[in-house]
Each structure stands twice: as C-alpha cells, then as structure tokens.
C-alpha cells in the first residue's frame, strides 16, 4: 500500500454531482472558508449528467401552476410517507432554483415568447389531481447534463478546490462529531486523511445492486455504506424505484418525457393498457403504478412475446409524435434508439422493460441537510448529506419524475449554506486513533489469491435483488434474499485483488464498491422484509394494502456487524391527511 498524507480544510464535500457541486458553490461563497470537493470521478462524469427529462418547478409559463400543487403531488406521489414541510420547501424553492440556474447560464429549451419551456411528467397535476400539468423545465433531453455543466462551470469560476479521482473509504468521528474523511488517491494508491470541521456526503445512488438498471457503474452507494459501517442509520431503504421505460435488456433509460410529450405504452394487442390502471393520468401515472401495470400485463401474457415465463417486454409508442418533435425535444432518445436498437422511434415503437432507477431512502437528514442519528431526531455534529444518497424525506415511498434534480439543487443549497455558517464558529475535532484502519484492510485484500470469484458474487447479488427484492415482493422471497445476501457478504470477505499495482488499481476499487453494494442490498432486503404492507414502490403480494395504522412511519436501519437493527422515525403529516391513492 501507498503512503499516507494529511490535509486540513474547513469543509469537505464528497461527490461532485448536482448536489455536491451546488453545496460547494454555497460553501465557497463565504470568504475565508477553505472548501474542498473530493470525487471518485472527474466531476463532469457524474451521473447527474445522465438526467434527461427535466427539473420540476411551478413557474406557470404555459398554464396556471402553483407550488402548493407541486408539494401535494409530491406527497401523494410518495404515498404519504413524505415529510410534508420538506415537500413544501422543495416546491416553493424549486421556482427560485430554476431561475437561479437559468441566470447562471443553463440553456433551457424555450417557448415562443422566450420563456423557459415546460413539459408534462408523471404524477404532476393541476389543482390537486385534476389533470396533468406542464411543470418540468427542460433542456431538450439532456437537462442533467446542462445542470452538471453549468454548476461545474460556476465552480471553476469560483475556484473551488477539487480532488479528482479520490475515492472515499472512511469517515472519521469523535463520538457524534464528524472530524474528517479518509480517501484513496486513484493515481498513486496513497491514502489521504482530510481533517475537517464539517463533511457533506453527496455520493449519489446505488442502482448497481440490480441486474437491470439505468444507473452508472459508479453508482455503488459508497457514502451510505461507509457511514453505515461507522454506526450511522439509513432511512427507508426498502423503497427502490423501478422506472417503467428502460431499453429492453440493457436498462438504458428512456425518459418519462417521451410520455410527457404524448408517447403511449402498448401491449401485444396494441392496447393502451394504462387506461385500465389509471383512468385520469393514463401513461403519466406515477412510476410505481406504471411499472406494476407493466408487470401485470406481462404476467397476463399480454407482453410482446406473450409468454410470462420469459423476460418479456412492452412497447413505448412515440411514432405519432413525428420526426420533427422527436429530433427537437428528444434528440438523445432518438440517438439511443438508433445506436442501441437500430431503430427509428419515428417509425417503430421502442421495446421497454422496467429498470432499477432510484433509491428513495438514504442517509436521514433534517431540513438543513444535517444527518440524523436517532429516531427522535438527535443529530450528528458537522455531518451533512444531500442528493440521491440523502433522505430528507421528500420522495417518501415513491419519487415523482423531475423531483430528484429539484432535490439536489434545493437541499444541496440549504446544506451547503448551513455548513458554511457552521464551520465559521466550529472547531476541529480530533482525528481518531483508528483513522488508518482501512489501510490494513486494503493491504490484506492485496494478499489474498485472486480469481473470478468477485464477479460470481456480483452476479448473484444482482440476480437476488432483481428476482426477490424487485417490483413485487413476498415475505418468503425477502427472507431468502436476506439469508443469501448474508452468505455473499461472508464470501466477499475472502476475495483477493489480482492487481498489485499501486496506481490506478481499479480492481481494488471495484472490490470496495462490491462490498458497499452488498451491505446496502442486505439493508434493502431486510427493510423490505419487516415492512408488512404495500406502499409506493414497495409492493408486497402477501400484504397488498397500505396499512397506515401499523406502518405510517419511516424505517431507520442500523448494521451492527452482520445483524440488522430497526427503528422508527415519525412522518411529518402537518399539512395533508393521508388518503387512498388513485389517479
């Protein structure tokens, strides 16, 4: 193993996606604050850049819209597991967030009068559910790319300090006070201990635990797993969203924006089957409902192949939109179809299957991004989280499309601001004695014999998650998944790294990522097993109804060695009373 280095910063941000970069911009606004961003990818490679369809905000540029409608849709979309004040902040601040991005140069698509264009998206409605509303602000179908570029540009302008290709491996605590992070420098294999008054985790999603996913290779949930091992709880991990329209077999995302522009899902008979499942919103019902409807169609033998025993699929029909609209509003989607399916979406329907997309759960935080330690709301000091890895919670049991990008900007900003103020009056804590504990772990990994075992474990994990912790779940399958994942966690501890080089040892990083995914898979399966109801994206065949009496609370999960421990956290229901969820 390499040498070790020490650094000192007031604030350290881990992750350079939309959430991390926005927080960095806020934190670096305060003169005298020394802020550093570390990221395992070059910043502009972050998965925020893959977001396609848009960012939701009630600008009302094309028709009447109001933030409170947006907030209500968010709460209902999340099947009432959303914290309602958080949802109100999300919807209120979204408007300013979009204007702010626009003024910083984001090239939104425009309407004739020169204002930002807006399109329809799933679950976003006018007047508390009357009909679909045009709320999603977009830049063609590369909205995330433009957000990431714009924020990175602003960070360059503000001379934010970046540590690119530094991989977070540990987070340091003195009791409940966070005192820094430990990272592995990819280029040298050296270990860096970064002493800090405050740390913000923005490491993004963890969809790579599933076989079919829209997520990047880098989405391995490192920040969550590292915190979990340091005794920090995670919230609502049983809720994982499947996006209805992934390219068949590959999982590459086809944005909901296609349906927002008028695209229709069809079964083998050519029927618009969503008419039977969501008569008002049809194809623009929330994702959990559409993904379930697709599964039902396939189970009933109405998939395109007509055989539920095989990996069947359905069609997303956008042919009636015409080539001009497709090329203008959805050019990347058209390009993906040509590249990966040799198909022209103006001529042929797109073969789609649900794809694992977004973790609603994550690191529990308060409204300022401060990490929560207990069910009663006790906080860590100097520890923040924002973005997909965090759980505020504004997505509850099911996220609405366009709300993640809003989450990044609104809560990335709030967390960054709070952190900037905090470090001005805070002191440095002590670096604990075991700060370099991970160095030994890495050194050991390099001594074990290497074979293709890691890949076998990875494949098993992805298959278990897909088959047993997927769209529909049963107690029996979940219990099996928990047992099997426990076994895989033992097995992975014995896997060695074949690559003994110090610099650019990706083999070692992939093993660390696999270990992280296994811990999160276990937590996800175990959380799903204990929630004996169906809510949002968590659909239990053996408990098919929502059960507000027993389960209208957030799940907190701790990992103590190999065993999973649960706690509860109450849901903020201060604005709207839970109602049955029909669309």
């Amino acid at each position: 193993m390499g040498r070790s280095h020490r650094h000192e910063f007031d604030a350290v941000i881990v992750g350079s996606g939309g959430a991390g970069l926005y927080a960095a911009l806020e934190a670096s606004r305060v003169r005298g604050n020394r802020t550093a961003v570390i990221s395992k990818l070059l910043p502009i490679r972050s998965h925020t850049g893959a977001a396609q369809g848009g960012i939701g905000a009630a600008l009302g540029n094309l028709e009447e819209d109001q933030p409170q409608w947006h907030a209500f849709d968010t709460v209902k979309g999340g099947d009432y597991l959303v914290d309602q004040q958080a949802a109100s902040i999300l919807a209120d601040d979204a408007v300013q967030a979009v204007y702010d991005l626009e003024r910083r140069g984001l090239p939104f698509s425009r309407i004739e009068d020169g204002k930002i264009d807006q399109r329809r998206f799933g679950g976003h409605t006018r007047n508390f559910g009357e009909a679909a509303v045009r709320r999603s602000c977009y830049a063609a179908d590369r909205t995330g790319h433009m957000i990431l570029q714009t924020l990175y540009q602003q960070c360059i302008k503000n001379e934010v300090a970046f540590f690119d290709e530094f991989h977070l491996i540990d987070i340091l605590f003195e009791g409940r006070k966070c005192t820094g992070v430990v990272a592995l420098e990819l280029a040298t294999g050296d270990i860096h201990v970064i002493h800090a008054k405050a740390v913000l985790i923005a490491t993004g999603g963890f969809g790579r635990m599933y076989r079919t996913t829209s997520n990047a290779y880098a989405n391995t949930g490192d920040g969550l797993a590292v915190l979990l091992r340091r005794g920090v709880p995670l919230e609502d991990m049983e809720f994982f969203q499947f996006h209805p329209t992934g390219i068949r077999g590959m999982g590459i995302l086809i944005t909901e924006g296609v349906r927002g522009e008028g695209g229709i899902l069809r079964n083998r008979a050519g029927d618009r089957f969503m008419e039977r499942y969501a008569p008002t919103l049809l194809d623009l019902a929330p994702r959990d409902m559409v993904a379930r409807a697709m599964t039902m169609e396939i189970q009933a033998g109405r998939g395109i192949l007509g055989d539920p025993a095989v990996d069947d699929y359905l069609y997303l029909d956008a042919t009636h939109l015409g080539r001009e609209v497709l090329e203008k509003k959805l050019p990347d989607i058209a390009d993906f179809c040509r590249t990966y399916l040799s198909l022209d979406p103006a001529e042929n329907a797109i073969p789609v299957q649900p794809t694992a997309h977004y973790g609603m759960g994550g690191i529990p935080t308060d409204l300022d991004g401060r990490v929560v330690a207990t069910g009663s709301g006790g906080l860590y000091e100097g520890l923040y989280a924002a973005g997909e890895c965090a759980c505020v919670s504004v997505h509850g049991a099911n996220r609405l499309g366009t709300n993640s990008l809003v989450d990044l900007i609104v809560f990335g900003r709030r967390a960054g601001r709070h952190m900037a103020d905090f470090v001005r009056q805070a002191d440095f804590g002590a670096i604990p004695d075991d700060a370099l504990a991970m160095q030994d772990v890495l050194a050991r990994a390099n001594k074990k014999p290497h074979d293709a075992h890691a890949e076998k474990i990875r494949t098993s994990m992805k298959t278990i998650m897909m088959d047993k912790v997927g769209i529909y779940r049963t107690g029996k399958a979940l219990d099996e998944a928990v047992q099997e994942l426990r076994g895989l966690r033992h097995e992975v501890a014995e896997v060695g790294v074949g690559d003994t080089s110090r610099s650019y040892n990706n083999d070692l990083l992939e093993l660390l990522e696999l270990q992280n995914l296994l811990d999160l898979s276990l937590i996800t399966a175990a959380s799903a097993a204990q929630r004996q109801e169906s809510r949002g994206a968590h659909a239990r065949e053996d408990f098919s109804e929502r059960d507000d009496d027993a389960y209208l609370h957030h799940t907190l999960t701790w990992l103590d060695g190999g065993s999973v421990r649960f706690g509860k956290k109450s849901v903020d229901l201060s604005i709207w009373e839970p109602k049955p969820r029909v669309y």
Partner: protein, 239 residues
C-alpha cells in the same frame, strides 16, 4: 460469435514499453464494446485498466481508439467494428494525451485548455426577477456546442495536435463557442486574449477529423470556423 480484442497494454510500474495483448471472447453483435472490456476485466484479467461510468454515451469517460478511430466504447456495438467470426478489434488509448495505464489517459492538459477559455457565463444583463428572456431561434444558435461531454475524442483525432503544433484544441473552442453565441453572454470580449491568440481559433487548419469522430455529433469544425469569424469581426470593430 467469437472475436479477438487486441488491446494495447502499458503499466508504467512494470512495463518498459507498451505491447498488444489478445483476448478471445464470445460476444453478441449487439453487445457494447464496453461490455466486452468489462467481461475481460471481471473474468479474465483484473489488471486491465480503463475508465467508464454511464455506459450509454453521455459521460465521456471511455473515449478510446477502436480500429484506429476515436470512439466511446459504450457507444460502439460489436457489430459496428467486427463483421465476421474471429474478427480482430484493435483497442488503444486516445492519441496525443499521455497514457497513464492501459487505456487510461491523462486529461490534465485537456482540462487546462478548457479552463483557459473561461467556460462560464459572463452575463450581459443582471436579471433581478424571474428569468432571462431568450427566443427559441436565439437559443438555437448555440445548441450544438452545448452537447459536448468533454470526452477528448476530437483532441485525439486533430492532425494539428498530432503533429505537435501549438493549438488550444477543438474541445476548448467548442466550449468557448457555447458562450460566445449565447445572447446572454458577453461573448468574445472576455475571451479575446485566448481565442484570438495564434494558438487559438486560427490555429485550426480545417481537417474536419474532429467533426468526423465527435460521438455527440457536434459540428466541431463549423463551431471553430464561426468562432474564428467572430474573433475577426470583433477585432475589426475594435480597430
């Protein structure tokens, strides 16, 4: 079908010089070349090094030279580069950028050039409330360069750079063009020293190789030519 990936290998810790290594694998015509590289890495040789992330052509991590042409491995299907059973596909790192290990190259200088063009908005107007107004036709003028993912394919393919001449590079100018033609930005003025320098836009010799390889379909040369013209007009106006 079976294909052979002939991969250029180099590990500065152990190798004196770069060498080619063949890997024979079973692949489907519709597999991505990135899938093939992952298969090798995860089941045959864990030391094989390359960058990757999104796996669908939007993050810019895995630009490399495939059968002599710059491409993203995740946006190249086996059928695009291997026609028959046993076909050999040659995979090398990008040209002109220093090799770090195997297919990984050092982007430090590439991003330095990016920074130099000041790739951020210099607002012409301070908007107090709401948004800037920009008509769709005006927005369209700089749509093309907004697609750039900074993959460096164009940089690698540029004959001017391959010959070692002093040139800022196509990607940096594309990034500048994204602002120069944005009605909300001050345009050339804050970037004149860089774009108008001898190694700026005018150093482009118009080979069109960048345009040919750009995985985002950006008309790179056209953007450079438009920038050249804008610099010229700006200088004339200033005289």
């Amino acid at each position: 079908m079976n294909i052979v990936l002939r991969i250029k290998r180099y590990n500065p810790e152990t190798d004196e010089a770069a060498r080619f290594q063949d890997f024979t694998i079973a692949a489907e015509p519709a597999d991505r070349l990135l899938d093939c590289l992952m298969l090798i890495k995860r089941t045959m040789d864990g030391t094989l090094s390359f960058r990757k992330s999104c796996a669908h052509g939007v993050c810019g991590s895995d630009a490399m030279t495939i059968n002599g042409v710059e491409r993203l491995a995740c946006k190249t299907l086996v059928q695009d580069v291997a026609e028959e059973e046993g076909a050999v596909v040659t995979v090398e790192p990008l040209r002109s950028l220093p090799v770090q290990r195997d297919l990984m190259v050092d982007y430090t200088r590439f991003f330095e050039a990016y920074r130099v063009v000041k790739p951020f908005l210099f607002p012409v107007a301070k908007v107090e409330e709401g948004e800037n107004i920009q008509a769709p036709e005006v927005r369209k003028k700089f749509d093309d360069p907004t697609k750039c993912i900074l993959c460096a394919s164009c940089q690698s393919a540029c004959p001017v750079i391959v010959e070692g001449k002093d040139f800022l590079g196509p990607a940096a100018i594309v990034q500048a063009a994204r602002f120069v033609f944005d009605s909300r930005d001050e345009g050339i003025a804050p970037r004149l020293d860089v774009l108008g320098a001898p190694n700026g836009a005018e150093a482009c010799e118009g080979h069109f190789e960048c345009t040919r390889v750009c995985p985002r379909g950006i008309k790179v040369t056209k953007n450079i030519n438009l920038t050249k013209r804008a610099v010229k007009q700006f200088k004339e106006k200033d005289d």
